[in-house]
Chain length 173, copies 3
């Protein structure tokens, strides 16, 4: 291999990582606009065939159940009244193999009420994704509301290998 070939190969590999992170980020960012406009099939297609969407209140397995959630009277009611599922920028990590990835990010669910907009929920979201022949797809998304339950900060920390949570000592009795 010549020196030029080696430099080219290194560039190709570095660029592929940026492209993978970009594709994953675009996938995650498309969830909000698609779900807030009721594009049920397009939301479901972000997941792998048997992908899982695990929210506090509901566990959906496979595209049909995700599609049904978007079509449900409950979700259509949110859209009809005005709502925004706003995602913060995700922090994406592609695995060493290059074919799997995880991401962590916040989402805010905002709803319009008679007296104005209300922040209904702030949620921690952990995404697992895999590369498929037709691009990256979600294998598992776990969402936990940040209301003090310990599971939610646990989800945030789990994305960072080696990160150590400080836990306050239990109060003395």
């Amino acid at each position: 291999m010549t020196d030029l070939e080696g430099r080219l190969a290194a560039l190709e590999e570095r660029l592929r990582l940026l492209e993978d992170e970009r594709e994953i980020t675009r996938l995650i960012l498309s969830y909000g606009p698609l779900v807030d406009s009721g594009c049920a099939g397009d939301v479901a297609a972000l997941w792998d065939e048997d992908g899982v969407y695990d929210v506090d209140e509901i566990l959906m397995t496979g595209r049909d159940e995700i599609d049904a959630m978007v079509r449900s009277a409950g979700h259509q009611g949110w859209i009809g009244g005005g709502c925004a599922h706003v995602a913060g920028p995700p922090h994406v990590t592609v695995s060493a193999s290059g074919d799997e990835a995880t991401a962590i990010g916040y989402t805010l669910m905002i709803v319009n009420r008679a007296d104005g907009f209300v922040l209904r929920r702030a949620t921690a979201n952990r995404w697992r994704l895999r590369r498929t022949p037709s691009g990256w797809r979600v294998t598992d998304r776990t969402s936990r509301v940040l209301d003090g339950r310990d599971e939610s900060p646990g989800l945030l920390a789990a994305h960072f290998p080696g990160a150590v949570r400080h836990r306050p000592p239990p109060a003395e009795s």
Copy 2:
């Protein structure tokens, strides 16, 4: 063309797409900090000479009208009282030609009141941009508040080619 030349040309093209998306994202992300600090001319310069900024309440055409909005007593009042135009990460799509682009994203308008911060508006924003000799510029930004009006989810869905909105059947009478 040698093999090395072909690989170089492919890398150059792939990198240019990432650079275009980056420049467009930076342009969109600069709107909030510039408008919340009253940098009227710098906000206006994000648009093309005859660019359009179409918000629910007001239609601005050309840089002078955008500049005037930032200088207006109304906008200066928001700054004086405390406000934040927070943009979520935009989902950017560059056209096949490479010289036009669209982007979709949420914005939150947050204002400070005597009793604390209030989320005044959650808005869907669709941006159209074109490449000019001095970089990417906005040709049209359309913003619609997500308060239940059907136009707003319509704007969100329009960014995704082929996306199909589920519409609930009209209630029976």
Copy 3:
């Protein structure tokens, strides 16, 4: 230098800029999940050894003081009750030398209360960073709440070289 070598060198330089912005963005985006899960040492490690974190209410100098803030009863109380430090996407600018950078971005501090989630603060954040042998680190983060104090829009504008703030004329007496 052959033509191929020149094109390779140009690609390497362009890619390095994207990689630097990516690394800085990932650093900034990791702050929220780490601080909301109480990973005190990992939060502190985002800063340079003697880095500064200057918030309205408190000035922290060096990693130990940042670590102590995360461990404090006050911060642990936020986590226990439910809180989210949500960062908007940062606008990152690497210096011409390539070894320093600044970034501007909004953060929202959201807390869970008995009657629901509340937006406690919307804040302007200016980050200064430098490249170290072990990657980019924060040398200075200045955060000012957007409550009408003039310092906060000043911080937003300062990130954009040449940007000019329009200041309304003082009211006549």
